[in-house]
Amino acid sequence: MKKTAALLMACLLPMGAMAGGFSIPEQGSKAAAMAGAFTGLANDPSAIYFNPAGISFIPGMNLTIGSTFVSPESQFQNPSASNTIYKQNDLFFVVPQLYFTYAWDYDLTFGAGVFAPYGLGTEWGKGWPGDYLSREIHLQNVHVQGVVSYKLMENLSVAGTFAWSYANAKLLKKAEVAGLAGDVSLDGSGSGIHWGVSTLWKASDMISVGISYKAATDLEMTGDIEISDAKTPAALANEGKGKVVLPLPSTLNVGVAVAVMPTLMITADYNWSEWSRYEKLEIENTDQDKILSSSPRNWKDTNTIRVGAEYTGLEVVSLRAGFLMDSDPVDTKYSEPSLPDAARTGYTLGAGYNITDALTVDAYLLLLAWDEKKVTDNEFDFNGYYNTKATLFGAHLTYKF
């Protein structure tokens, strides 16, 4: 039974791209089209991710289904050693979402969602200069989340969420443990639980304010450690059950939505993510109670500003745009190639189209550019230039029953 569940999950598992840390906030096309500045608006079922208290203001029964697609591009160059530009393998990630809301009675609204808010995937070539730091890392994560939202007042709702989170991680690098032979990989999976609280307050006809908090959790993944290349008996003795723990941050999102005109909504968000929880990456052999490799991360919390706009002056079409700026969780001192993050800037465009009264389709495009990261003071003496960008796009169908 457990195996079947895991298999089912595996089918749903998206592969994430790198993002501010390894979160993927593009969890709905309407919100993403407004650069994710949606905490204060939260007026479609993707509110289950952005601000669950928003579902109190969505009448009836609604279903959203769709996906975000991510196409990243990243490279490293250290001209003090070589002019070679090392490019990451081309990867394409599919990040699907399913949201359901149901306005019950007694001012209670229920919601459920299956989505993947965290993920990571980087692949560098075998034998590349950073092989001892990282060759491949993949993190796949899926949340199954339930929401109960209660309307305290006509214009104020509060919600609580509870999510079960399943994750699978695969790490591969050249061994750095003194003498450990060849490549070491860990393929592990595990689950954790999350909770969150949120509120949405429609202060006036013009202004609404939302706050959403999600608690931190640790994804503790266990699986098999494998050693390839140099299969000496003693090296293989390091194989066995392994464990890696990836921390997920607590997040606080505060957003406001202002209807500057009846047909024009401007939204803004401030997001804080506690990435300082990611202090180190350790691969442990649990059979032998031995840390095979430990690498400092020492990330910092991130701050994100998002601004979005939606124009609804055209009959069946809504036009949306947005802009976002994200801070860098990783000082150059601790930067390393498994996630060459940097401060980011993103521009979005999107549209919604009411196919029928009950059926809406939303789509968006996000161009995300990472600042060039010039590293000169690296703890691992892995200095050079990282450049990253990504194109994200998505489409979602929403049906009102």
Binding site: Q77, G130, L264, A309, F323, L349
Partner: protein, 489 residues
């Protein structure tokens, strides 16, 4: 409406800008040798400069040496070395791929070559000009003992004799054991010396790195023979004289020199004490001082944990074999049968060796500063690696420690750098040259470029399974000590 138009305009503009800048900036930098003209580069040095590693000089190691890498970085073609094909001098220590019953990897030694075999393996001896790499194993800065008037007292000016097979420096030749035939194979023509070769070649870039053996012979022979490192003031005088000779060349070469690493932090001295912990019931190894008095070294877990495992002396790699090679009575286990003085660097000798290194480096840096020369501070880098203990130091994403075999920095002989160590040394030189001479030489990448083995030589040795020093082949190590000027029977 106006705001919305503006926002849409800005967003569209942003997307167009981003889409337009779809290519990342290429930071490629052309190789540039600055004011240093590497078209005529000559390297002077000892075994490290020659590329000696794991107890031998052989072509693969020679080609992995820092001078070859440096020449490659500078884009030099025709950098000639005194190639010794195949196993070269012989004596190379290598892992045979098997493990002893205790799980320790088994090291074996290639047989030492005879001088005629070495001569035959010298496949580049027909070169009609001096080699670019004049690194000769065994070279010292100052030749120990007082040479009679008229003979050279520094290795730089030693002349090869008329038979072309040996070098002379007054009575007894070049310090007996140090006379290894490689001197003759490198200089070739009778009457030639390093200095005369240099004067004939008129190099435009010189790397000069001598001085290691002025203390290593003393230290690796347990402070016995020679009985002292080169006197610091003599070192200063000779270094200054040689520096004046080089800077006086008509070719006015750009010069890079290097400092001497602390000899007491190399695996030759730091391995055995720790390896003995838990194996000696009494927890003590007895040894005799050169004065004859007997003392003991604590090799128990408590001393190890206290971090004072070397406080009462460092047992050399050769000492391990002396402890282990007896059949009935092992040396060092009883006060009546102490380990010979030549196998232990006692606390006073450690201080003498460290002091000598510090003084030599003071001279090197001081003289280089007055000459305006670049200094590759190998000493500071190696010290940083050793100070990092098990965490070592990261270089270009790769962790390197000073541990025997598994650390990556040193080769199997516990004294000489591995190929990875040579690549790191090349990078110290690159950095020094770039900074001093406005050059932009590329550093050597450490991820096994084609044709060279930069992988840690330890890559095959499992964690925690140190080479058992008791099983080390002794002859190559003794040969190496002799090469460095130490007398050992």
């Amino acid at each position: 409406m106006k705001n919305m138009t503006k926002f849409a305009y800005l967003s569209t503009f942003g997307i167009l800008v981003l889409a337009g800048c779809s290519d990342f900036e290429d930071h490629k930098k052309d190789v540039n040798t600055g004011s240093a003209d590497f078209s005529k580069y000559m390297a002077i040095g000892n075994s490290i400069t020659a590329g000696y590693q794991s107890g031998a000089l052989y072509e693969e190691a020679q080609r992995a040496g820092y001078t070859v890498l440096l020449a490659k970085s500078a884009g030099v073609s025709g950098f000639e070395i005194p190639t010794l094909s195949g196993e070269g001098t012989g004596g190379r220590l290598k892992w045979d791929g098997s493990f002893s019953p205790s799980g320790s990897p088994v090291l074996v030694a290639v047989p030492l070559a005879t001088s005629s075999e070495i001569f035959e393996r010298a496949i580049n001896k027909g070169l009609a000009r001096p080699y670019n790499n004049m690194g000769i194993p065994g070279s010292v800065l100052v030749i120990p003992g007082s040479a009679p008037l008229g003979y050279a007292t520094d290795f730089f000016d030693v002349k090869i004799n008329s038979t072309g097979t040996d070098a002379v420096v007054g009575p007894g030749g070049v310090g007996g054991s140090r006379n290894n035939g490689l001197f003759a194979l490198t200089l070739r023509s009778p009457g030639s010396s390093l200095w005369l070769s240099m004067k004939g070649y008129q190099p435009k870039v010189v790397s000069f790195w001598l001085g290691n053996n002025d203390v290593l012979g003393y230290a690796t022979s347990g402070g016995v023979s020679p009985s002292a490192p080169t006197d610091a003031s003599v070192f200063q005088t000779k270094y200054q004289q040689i520096a004046d000779s080089i800077s006086g060349l008509a070719s006015q070469p750009k010069v890079v020199v290097a400092t001497i690493p602390d000899v007491t932090s190399i695996p030759f001295f730091t391995t055995v004490n720790v390896s003995l912990v838990g194996k000696i019931p009494s927890g003590k190894i007895y040894y005799s001082h050169s004065s004859g008095s007997v003392d003991s070294i604590y090799v128990d877990a408590t001393t190890l944990a206290s971090g004072k495992i070397y406080n009462r002396g460092m047992i050399t790699l050769l000492g391990a074999s002396a402890i282990g090679n007896g059949t009935s009575t092992f040396a060092g286990l009883a006060k009546a049968v102490p380990l010979g003085s030549q196998y232990v660097l006692d606390p006073a000798e450690i201080v003498i060796a460290k002091t000598a290194v510090a003084q030599f480096n003071g001279s090197i840096k001081g003289i280089a500063a007055t000459k305006g020369w670049a200094v590759a501070d190998v000493s500071a880098e190696f010290t940083a690696v050793a100070a990092g203990g098990a965490n070592g130091k990261y270089y270009m994403g790769q962790k390197v420690t000073a541990a025997f075999i598994t650390g990556g920095l040193f080769s199997y002989d516990g004294v000489h750098p591995s190929s990875l160590g040579q690549a790191l040394i090349a990078n110290y030189f690159v950095q020094a040259i770039n900074a001093k001479y406005g050059a932009a030489l590329k550093q050597v990448e450490l991820n096994s470029p084609a044709g060279m083995k930069f992988g840690k030589i330890s890559a095959q040795i499992p964690d925690g399974k140190l080479i058992d020093p008791f099983t080390l082949p002794v002859e190559p190590l003794k040969n190496m000590v002799r090469l460095m000027g130490g007398e050992i029977e």
